[in-house]
Amino acid sequence: MQDLFFYLFAALTLLCGFLVVANPFSRNPVTSAMFLALTIVSMAGLFVLLHAFFLAAVQILVYAGAVIVLFLFVIMLLDLKEEQRRTANKFGIVTGVISVGAITVILIKTIFESHATATVATPALEGATQPLGRMLFNDYVLPFEILSVLLLVAMVGVILLSKKDLR
């Protein structure tokens, strides 16, 4: 049952990811964004299978609920229709695919050759929210605070950037 779900979600993730990048039917960025949302959601499914419930929820909440909506927002604001008209650079596509393919091969080869020892799932970390929180606010409190500053900086930056005339 779990295996089935894994294959289902993995296939869905990869398929949607592929459609984000190279949708043969549409080059509309909105479609890409929607498939990205689907990727995120199916990835959340994978997270659930990995017993990372909290992260699954956060994944949906942050990515699907905010980030991709932001993307949609911007796409709609910018009114992008350009790309549909452009002709692709064949040479670039071929070389790009080859180099990325090489990386893929290397990565997967490495994964299979490494013989990861932990093939059996360790006892599930049920209800991981509380330990996660403890860890976050004890061991990782400094990075956490730094991140909060990062967010603040990003917010200030975005507000400045979005002003009509920068001074």
Partner: protein, 612 residues
Amino acid sequence: MKLEALPWLILFLPLLSAATITLFTQKNRELSARLSIGAIVSGFVLSVIFIAANGWEPLQKETLVTWLEVGDLQVDFGLRLDPLSLLMLLVVTGVGGVIHIFSWGYMREDRAFSRYFACLSLFTFSMLGVVLANNFLMMFIFWELVGVSSYLLIGHWFERASAADASKKAFITNRLGDFGFMLGILIVWALAGGLNFSLIEDQLKQNPALFGSMTTAAGLLIFCGAVGKSAQFPLHVWLPDAMEGPTPVSALIHAATMVAAGVYLLCRVFFIFTTPALHVIAWVGAITALMAALIAVQQNDIKRILAYSTLSQLGYMVLAVGVASPTPAMYHLTTHAFFKALLFLGAGSVIRALHHEQDIWKMGALSKKMPTTSATFVVGAAALCGVPGFSGFFSKDEIIAAALNPRHGSLGLFLLAAGVAMLTTFYMSRLVLVAFFGPARSDGADHAQESPKVMVLPLLALAVPSALAGFFGIAQLYGKQLGEAHSSFQVLAMAASLGAVVFGLALGWGLYWNAEKDPLPERIGPWARMLRNRFYFDELYEATVIKLHDTIAAIADWFDQWIVAGLMVRGAHGTTELVGRALRLAQTGNLQTYAFLFVLGVAVVLYFVLGK
């Protein structure tokens, strides 16, 4: 009361005024002029006070400040105070002050009034430095400063190409002489181990063979400096061109001070010259005197005539030094400073009255329109010609007499001197008769008016010493230091100079009284043209020196362009550029390309890290 600080004050007041004008009072014309004039006039007053207090020969002849001390070398910054320098101090500040005041009127409408006075003050400072210097190095420094400030003054109207060219010509020609001067200084330094005048003089007195075979060479090299500054024969070309500067500048530089510096130098270091060197000096002076007088006969520009006359008189002075008679040289220098400044200022007054007309054939009848200027000009001319009773008579007479002295002089030099005296009278009578008498030859001359008081008063102030300087005992004063003039042939010399004056005046009167145009070209034809063209010196230099110079420059240019810039610089930069061009291909500005290259790099790195 010793007043030791006074000479320093006199020296540095003009510098202070120049600095103040340049830094603070550029905008305030009147204040600038007052500062500059105040500096030089107070310099004159202070000089008088100093001389009054200490007499002509102060007990302490030198005041010293150690300026540089590097290893064994010690350079003092000192002032030498003896009759020679004190009298020159009076001449420079006195004549210079008068010229300053004259400038106030003459330059009134000039745009760069403040700059003019700043340069004037700087020039005064440098000249005073030359006069007061007690060693070769300090003299050389001020010598160069004189060159720089004269460059600035001659090129005052630098907007005019001719003025800019003239200033460059003056500076470069001077540098040529200065180069020799510097070599001479170095030789003296190497041999004597010091630069102080009195030190070297003492050493030479004790051991005349101190410099050995180098003495003549050192003397001649130092004479080179004087040749440049005093515009002697091969390097005389800059002085007539320098008339492009404002007329007061001409008066200051070309009559009283700068050109006199060369002669002053010769007298100051007279002790260093050997007999062969003196022969050379004498002949150079004689040739300059004759040549300049001949050229002056056929010039039409009032300032040029005066310029060549200056050259001629400088030749006299150098001749006097060359016949081992520095006293007459300095005597003539002093009187010449008075009357030549007077003549230049008179010419300036005329030029200004005629709205910058300088051709004497467009003047005439000015004696009626500008009585004071004319009268003073005539006084100056008479002094220059050596009319008996006027200052020039005494000084020139002494030189002509000295030219006959048995040890250094010769009959040739005497005849030359006498001939030049005749020519002087001739061209001066031509100038005076054409410019101030006869009919008015242009509308400008017809409507000329007397110049304002600020210009006329200096003329009067200079006319007095021009006329009477012969009675002040200046020669005796110089004689105290430089030795009495040889006066054994006074009668013959006096007869010769009197004859020259009478003959020259008669010739001039005959040819130019009421003349409409110059009758001389018709009479002597090609000779006149040659004179008018200044013996083709400029053309000669153009054809030889400048050609040679151009060739050397072309070769250097070729070397620079092909070897230095071509092979070395361009080679290096070409290689860099080629590599840069190759690398530039990678910078497409396209994000995608960068991403692709990045991915490629990651693939390679991954291959080496993981893939093996």
